[in-house]
């Protein structure tokens, strides 16, 4: 099928990784949600290989999208895995703006000042 070390994203694999679910348990996780593992809470022995890899990846702070790229997994799969780990308290999520909302004025001004300072 695939040679060692090569990444193949077959249609079946994500289904297997996520144990048959196609929807995350929570919908607050977004591509830009920041994830951070709790170092004092090791994963249970039952945790899968991909969950372990995600947990290790989040030893320090990074976004869900970045974790997905580094793990070579689709964002949709990492969303489901991360969602489980947040539910079980093994990952902390710092979320972006909820879908229905928009950044408030204070945050927009922070973004503006940040961008201007980079010029």
């Amino acid at each position: 099928m695939s040679s060692p070390g090569e990444y193949h994203d077959s249609p079946l694999r994500p289904y297997v990784i996520t144990r048959g679910r196609s929807r995350p348990t929570r919908n607050t996780l977004r591509v830009d949600t920041l994830l951070l593992a709790d170092p004092d809470r090791p994963l249970p022995a039952s945790a899968g290989r991909q969950e372990r890899a995600l947990h290790r990846m989040c030893v320090r702070l990074l976004s869900l999208a970045e974790a997905a790229v580094h793990l070579e997994l689709p964002v949709s799969v990492v969303t489901i895995l991360a969602s489980d780990l947040v539910d079980s308290g093994h990952l902390q999520a710092r979320s972006g703006i909820p879908a229905a909302a928009r950044p408030d004025r204070e945050l927009l001004l922070e973004v503006l000042h940040g961008l201007r300072s980079l010029r």
Partner: protein, 201 residues
């Protein structure tokens, strides 16, 4: 897994608030270039399989393929201060990718639409769709390629049928300052748009 070489992939732990801006536009218009000009990390690429009809999760259920396409999305990152990080997502603007970028646009600061004046008609669809959405602020950034016919701003506004409030800026996506200026114009517009909405409600 966390080697020395990877150390700079992480954010400072003080960062609490991610925000995002979506960069859309026709094929080859400079989306990846703009993201790369501004990003503090090498732009990253994800590939998702999506069905023509719906979200990318359909295949997870092991459904036999409807019309699946692979869509590549580039993104970059800019840490704005010790609390806020900005993610820039570059996504293709064609109709069949709308499901994906509409999801991405939710909760975003806004959308920057890159336009190539040699192919204005390639931008019509995406602009129509953004005007329909109404709740996401957007700005138009015009990239200049060597064989571009110079367009005056008014001519361009007319050709693209833009609202008077929609910002139009010139942009060289290869240039960091120029790309930052386009993003700044978008965020200024988002700020004004929010104030106008709050005043109206």
């Amino acid at each position: 897994m966390v080697s020395e070489a990877c150390a700079d992939r992480y954010l400072p732990e003080t960062v609490q608030q991610p925000v995002k801006i979506l960069v859309v536009g026709a094929l080859g218009v400079g989306k990846t270039t703009l993201v790369g000009s501004v990003s503090e990390i090498r732009p990253l690429r994800t590939e998702e399989t999506m069905t023509e009809a719906g979200a990318g999760v359909d295949r997870l259920a092991g459904l036999p393929d409807k019309n699946t396409t692979t869509v590549a999305m580039d993104f970059g990152r800019v840490t704005l201060n010790d609390r806020v990080v900005l993610y820039l997502f570059g996504a293709p603007g064609q109709r069949r990718f709308w499901n994906m970028w509409e999801g991405l646009a939710e909760g975003a600061v806004g959308v920057l639409v890159l336009v190539d004046t040699r192919r204005l008609e390639d931008s019509f669809e995406v602009l129509d769709q953004l005007e329909l959405r109404a709740d996401t602020p957007f700005a138009v950034a015009v990239n200049h390629f060597p064989d571009t016919h110079p367009h005056g701003e008014e001519e361009l506004r007319r050709a693209l049928d833009l609202l008077p409030t929609t910002p139009v800026v010139d942009c060289d996506a290869r240039d960091r300052t120029s790309s930052l200026d386009a993003l700044i114009a978008l965020v200024e517009h988002a700020t004004e748009d929010l104030a106008a909405r709050e005043a109206a409600s």
